[in-house]
């Protein structure tokens, strides 16, 4: 098998990075990258931010120019939906009745929006925000002065809220939780974001459950909550999380739970099939060896690199430090490590302002850091975590202590 064929299903950031890394590593086999969206691979993060405001164009979210694929002999097939895998014959089958033979298959099938399950959810002008097509449709409806109701105060909901408020819409965000980004960030950070969103003119309502959406001529007109509030809505944006796309793996009997189960080399139980990115349930060092599924660019890129390295004969267990970011208006939030329960939290900077980091220590060791407009803290924390460099809570909380002093530059 001197020149094997690698087929990647899913042409998002993870799928694209596999082919890019393989060609960078001088892999000479056939590469087929198949995506079910009609667009060439693009980056999703700007869709809820610059893209909606017109600061970022479709060309700018496109990850590689068209000629890149031809130049590097990568077969990019878009708008093609995989429906089955024949593992014994190593064939991927598609909705258009075609099949592609593989030596190695990479599942980078990502995730899909969790659908709002209330009466009226099917009305017009109810949007989700994951794909480029969804962003295009939503952008068209973002007209200054209109009322937007956002369901879900997570990253996507709040990023949209900040963009919409900046664009002059009246924005209300509802969430069943008690605070913004409740599952993702510390209470300290949540409180800052609540205060700053209110300054942007966003109304936030917590412990607030949607009962139904009310419509008029097929389009949403209002959102009614269980506690009886009726919020006028010209448009509704739903950001209540995602569900991993495991169907393809499940139908060919690969083990799946919340995600496709993979080992530390991103292999499924079939040595000819890997899974990476949002869909991969992997054991992560930074989750104390627990199995997790991470929805992030970092995870997509680094797992893709892990698979590419293994395919070219340089296997190395996946150990990358998780990191994430969320830009909401002028708030640039960056996170690294994984948030654990029962952590000692130390604040660096003044939480009355917008330049703050929260360092979380688990059993005395640095586990997770969130930084608001303190990118240097974020960058240095990533290195502290990856190098297992000891930082004390006292050092973290002392703003005059130079984090950089703990690190040695490469020579």
């Amino acid at each position: 098998m001197s020149k094997p064929t690698v087929v990647i299903i899913g042409a998002g950031q993870a799928g694209l990075q596999v082919v890019a890394s393989l060609r960078e590593a001088k892999f000479e086999g056939r590469l087929v990258l198949v995506g079910d969206e009609v667009h060439a691979p693009y980056q999703r993060p700007p869709l809820s931010k610059g893209y909606l405001l017109g600061d970022t164009t479709t060309a700018q979210v496109t990850l590689r120019p068209a000629q890149f694929f031809a130049q590097h002999n990568i077969e990019l097939i878009t708008g093609k939906h995989a429906i089955a895998i024949d593992r014994s014959r190593r064939l991927a089958a598609f909705e258009d009745d075609s099949v592609i033979e593989y030596d190695h298959l990479v599942l980078a099938t990502g995730a899909r929006n969790r659908a709002l399950q209330v009466p009226g959810a099917e009305l017009g002008n109810v949007f989700y925000l994951r794909s480029l097509d969804e962003a295009i449709a939503l952008k068209e409806r973002m007209v200054a002065g209109k009322n937007a109701v956002v369901i879900g105060a997570g990253f996507i909901g709040l990023e949209f809220a900040a963009s919409a408020a900046k664009h002059g819409l009246n924005v209300t965000v509802l969430d069943v939780a008690e605070r913004p980004m409740a599952r993702a960030v510390s209470k300290t950070m949540s409180d800052i974001f609540q205060r700053e969103h209110e300054k942007m003119g966003v109304t936030l309502c917590f412990k607030s459950q949607v009962m139904h959406l009310l419509g008029e001529q097929g389009n949403v007109r209002a959102v009614e909550t269980v506690d009886g509030r009726v919020l006028p809505a010209d448009l509704v944006v739903v950001g209540i999380g995602v569900i991993p796309n495991v169907q393809l793996a499940a139908t060919c009997d690969l083990p799946v739970e919340d995600g496709i189960l993979v080992d530390e080399l991103m292999l499924t139980s079939d040595p000819n099939i890997s899974a990476i990115g949002d869909v991969a349930a992997h054991v992560n060092d930074f989750a104390h060896g627990h199995r997790v599924r991470l929805e992030s660019v970092q995870n997509a890129m680094d797992q893709a690199r892990c698979v590419a390295a293994r395919i070219v004969g340089k296997p190395a267990a996946y150990q990358a430090v998780p990191w994430f970011w969320s830009n909401q208006g002028s708030l640039a939030l960056q996170m690294t490590g994984l948030r654990m329960s029962e952590c000692e939290e130390v604040v660096r900077g003044d939480p009355a302002g917008t330049s703050v980091s929260v360092f979380s220590f688990h059993e005395g060791k640095l586990a997770y850091v969130e930084s608001l407009n303190r990118a240097a803290d974020h960058m240095l924390s990533r290195r502290l975590l990856s190098g297992r460099v000891a930082l004390t809570p006292q050092q973290a909380g002392d703003i005059s202590f130079e984090l950089k002093s703990l690190l040695t530059p490469a020579r």
Binding site: A20, Q43, M301, W325, A332, Q334, R382
Partner: protein, 106 residues
């Protein structure tokens, strides 16, 4: 097209061309120039597209932005001529731009 010369830490060179308006990071990525990662896609969030700009060229660039400045504080091996290459947009006057790459981005 605008020509950019990337010089790796070990002295090897890659001379590539990019479109006006594209960033130096994009140009490196599109041409598979090693030594630049750029994982965040030019959103000024990862500081893995760090490069040093030769003095002759530095004056022709837009000044360092506020976001870029705080990101640069977090890079290792920071020098006076450090830039994040995702923030440098190619224009005709930059034809021949020389970017030296650090020993490591991470």
């Amino acid at each position: 097209m605008v020509q950019v010369r990337f010089i790796q830490h070990d002295g090897t060179e890659n001379v590539v061309e990019g479109n006006e308006g594209d960033s130096v990071m994009q140009t490196a990525r599109d041409n598979m120039v090693p030594g630049i990662i750029g994982d965040c896609g030019g959103n000024c969030s990862c500081a893995t597209c760090h490069g040093y700009v030769d003095a002759d060229w530095l004056a022709k660039l837009e000044p360092v932005g506020e976001n870029e400045e705080i990101m640069l504080d977090g890079v290792m091996n920071q020098e006076k001529n450090s830039r994040l290459t995702c923030q440098i947009k190619l224009k005709r006057e930059l034809n021949g731009l020389v970017i030296r790459l650090p020993i490591s981005q991470v």
